[in-house]
Subunit: 496 residues, 2 copies
């Protein structure tokens, strides 16, 4: 891939002067159309060899276009807040909203390549990173993002020349550091590993564009022209992937109408005395686990899904009752804000990820995508179908970062729900919990059950299995939940 960027591409001063004003004007027009259209975001990755003009190009893009709608982010060493989250968190934080251009200086490629170059990882690690990156970029593309990945290349000879030139000028000497020469020394290895990585991650959705970095005018015109063409093509396309028409999702019904939830024994019960004894014991174990020194390397992500009145709130409170209020955060999932709507679906969950040593309890969760959004047609079939894999990726990243993930599906019978609705309407301090929407959702009971069964089947993974909780009896349900949670945390603490 890189040979083509060692042929000595150049643009004469005269030609550049002819091209530049028009390119600039058209880029600005396209940027303005993007801003008005606001249907998708543009993500430019700026990567490559040191000294190949990355910084200059980014400056130029900011100069040519309206810098107010460009988000330039440089990724240095992660902060401690970033280190306490999965590695991708810092990139999620920096994604541009729809209608804007994000220029990412350094990216999700930097660490995988550099770590491999300096042998901090092995070939298999890199391969896994490549797969993850491909899935991540596919998700962004599916969400409508226009992704262009620029790689600025210089031959080793040129790089040496460039670094020497920078060093000899007192005005630019500061730009060359020991790190630059460290990289220069491993040029061949860096060349090989990055070329491999680029080849494996250059997809139709997120292509790599290798740019020869020798001549500033060639470099600038190439990046500008590539961006302009891609922007225009995308703006002219009939409302593409991002704009697929919203329609009610068809529900796939098994022929015999049986599914995993049908097999649950909702008669399971626990008497009050045993409940109280077990609750106390489990809460004590939970409290102990949360104070374990090794708990600081973990966090707990605990989510609750289930039909209305299934007992999610009550179960959450039996957990929080055992915990110091400093350690947990309960997050109810409601409609997204406008900032959240301008981002990929999972962004709203990434942004709230806790630091280490904390509990986060979600009352409903990212699974809304494949439950309510599927049933109500709030997203397209394509959107919720791809959500299963996206969610699995998300949870895998959490788990690998040390999270204990506990996912509970609280199953009640339709009759029990009716009884609870009626009861709640009577009890003063539970009154507000019943809304007309709850009654409407009840009418779609079967559709929700099927969607839940699909969800459980497709997202029960080794690192984040679903726990199905028979919830007609609250005592049984709460003890089962606490017990699963406590076991999950205890085994994570022992595993290290």
């Amino acid at each position: 891939m890189f040979e083509a960027a060692e042929v000595g591409h150049k643009l004469s001063k005269g030609r550049y002067k002819r091209i530049e004003p028009r390119l600039r004007a058209e880029l600005l027009d396209a940027q303005y159309d993007l801003y008005k259209n606001s249907g998708f975001s543009v993500i430019l990755l700026i990567s490559g060899v040191r000294g190949a003009g990355k910084g200059e190009t980014v400056n130029l893009l900011n100069e040519w276009m309206d810098p107010r709608h460009i988000y330039t982010h440089a990724f240095d060493d992660p902060s401690d807040e970033e280190r306490e989250r999965p590695p991708m968190w810092r990139f999620w934080r920096a994604l541009p909203p729809k209608g804007r251009i994000g220029i990412l200086f350094g990216s999700w490629y930097t660490a995988p390549i550099i770590d491999r170059v300096f042998k901090r990882t092995n070939a298999k690690d890199l391969m896994r990173s490549v797969e993850e990156v491909n899935r991540f970029e596919r998700m962004l593309a599916d969400d409508g993002a226009l992704i262009l990945k620029f790689w600025f290349h210089l031959s080793q000879k040129r790089q040496k020349k460039r670094l020497k030139a920078l060093e000899s000028d007192p005005n630019t000497r500061w730009r060359v550091t020991g790190r630059d020469w460290d990289f220069f020394k491993v040029y061949d290895r860096f060349y090989r590993i990055s070329e491999d990585t680029l080849r494996q991650t250059s997809t139709a959705d997120a292509p790599w564009i290798v740019v020869e970095g020798t001549d500033p005018k060639y470099r600038a015109a190439t990046v500008g022209k590539t961006l302009l063409d891609a922007l225009r093509k995308r703006l002219q396309a009939p409302a593409g992937r991002a704009g697929t028409k919203i329609r009610a999702a068809p529900i796939v019904r098994p022929v015999d109408k049986r599914h995993i939830l049908c097999k649950m024994d909702l008669e399971l019960k626990l008497d009050k005395k045993r409940y109280e004894a077990q609750l106390e014991r489990l809460q004590r174990r939970l409290a102990l686990a949360a104070r374990h020194p090794r708990f600081r390397d973990h966090n707990v992500v605990c989510l609750f899904e289930g039909m209305d009145a299934a007992g999610k709130g009550g179960a959450i409170r039996r957990i929080t009752a055992a915990l110091d209020a400093r350690l947990y955060h309960t997050i109810p999932i409601a409609a997204p804000t406008d900032e959240e709507r301008a981002q990929p679906y999972l962004w709203r969950f990434w942004r709230r990820l806790p630091r280490k040593g904390r509990f986060t309890l979600y009352d409903r969760s990212w699974y809304g995508r494949v439950l309510v959004e599927r049933i109500e047609g709030f997203c397209t079939e394509a959107d919720w179908m791809r959500a299963y894999a996206e969610i699995n990726d998300f949870e895998e990243q959490l788990a690998r970062d040390g999270a204990v993930i506990a996912k509970f599906w609280l199953q009640i019978s339709k009759e029990e729900q009716y009884r609870r609705f009626k009861e709640r309407a009577k009890t003063r301090f539970k009154r507000f919990k019943i809304t007309p929407e709850d009654w409407r959702n009840r009418e779609k009971w079967d559709a929700y059950q099927v969607a839940a069964a699909d969800m459980i089947e497709r997202t029960s993974t080794a690192h984040a299995p679903w726990v199905l909780v028979e919830s007609n009896d609250k005592y049984h349900a709460r003890v089962k939940i606490l017990s699963a949670l406590v076991h999950g945390i205890e085994s994570a603490l022992e595993a290290r």
Copy 2:
């Protein structure tokens, strides 16, 4: 203040059992009304002596009410991202949006009191903190927040008893740390300093409520009842401070219609040759300053205000051209998002504060409050009148944290603006910059000028002076701006 909380307040089990269900139901009702009303946020500070039941109370509030609309935040040691911002940043981050309850565990009182107790600061430092806190809370209250500050008190004897009791139970032993005994040793000093601080910060807008922490039932009922009464009173009040009717702001005109902007000599010019020479020199100095090792202790907050077409964008680009794209961020100020509208006015600026060693360039800024919002009646007169002081406080905090603040007012004549509008409409790549709104704003020229003059007069401070820039000639303007900026940064670097 604390004596009243040493009398041995108690609530019998029977009485508590009679009170609790009703209190709980009513609190939940009030919380739901707050959520529907969404006109204001509720901020509960939980402070006080160790072992006085703060954690238990917070747990109980979460249990009584709907925890999904309560934001509980505990403040431990600041993270590195927090340490690179003014001390108040972490609290701004944690403010609950309107319609929600935020419980802050530890608060803006913690560091000032503790630092004074352990003699890391002197009496004057504490006094300054107290003043700042009072201004901050007044701002929150003016924005509509209901603020209740609970102080949990124990006599020294009781505290000792409590800590001993916790220590002797294997289940609670972990809760007592060496730090608790460190505090116990300085009980008297802590008592005196916190009582003083409380007295000076107990205002009608944000009262302290001292709660005796000995009896859990008394403690819980007191906090619950206090919160309920305050919530109800506020919900029943006719749309109060927060809801003051929006009206066009009256413009105060000096009798002779002269103001500071009238005196500017807009004929000032610079010829192209001298401009280019000076620009280059200043850009080089700027680049050097940004690479200075001590620059890492600072950041630069640079904002541009001025009539449309005054040359803000062009000036910003002459600055960014000298900088590595990794080091700056250009922020255009547009309409707030819905998350921003649910917070005090300055929240949207606090949330985007840069880390150290960075430049942030604002194209328009927080001064929109006293310019466009004042003129267009987007906020009440009371709101923009108080904004002057709030902004001065904000900038002072930035400056004290090491920021170099450069504020530029770009002044052009009305004729020059007309010429530029016409010219822009012709030039293809500047076309989009002229909108019908620009022409409408032009009609309000005089009102904007008066508002700008008021703003400059009221917000030109020692740490953040306005630089008035004669901008009919772009060359003169850009050189003046760069020169002021470079001088500002260089003196900050020398000052240390």
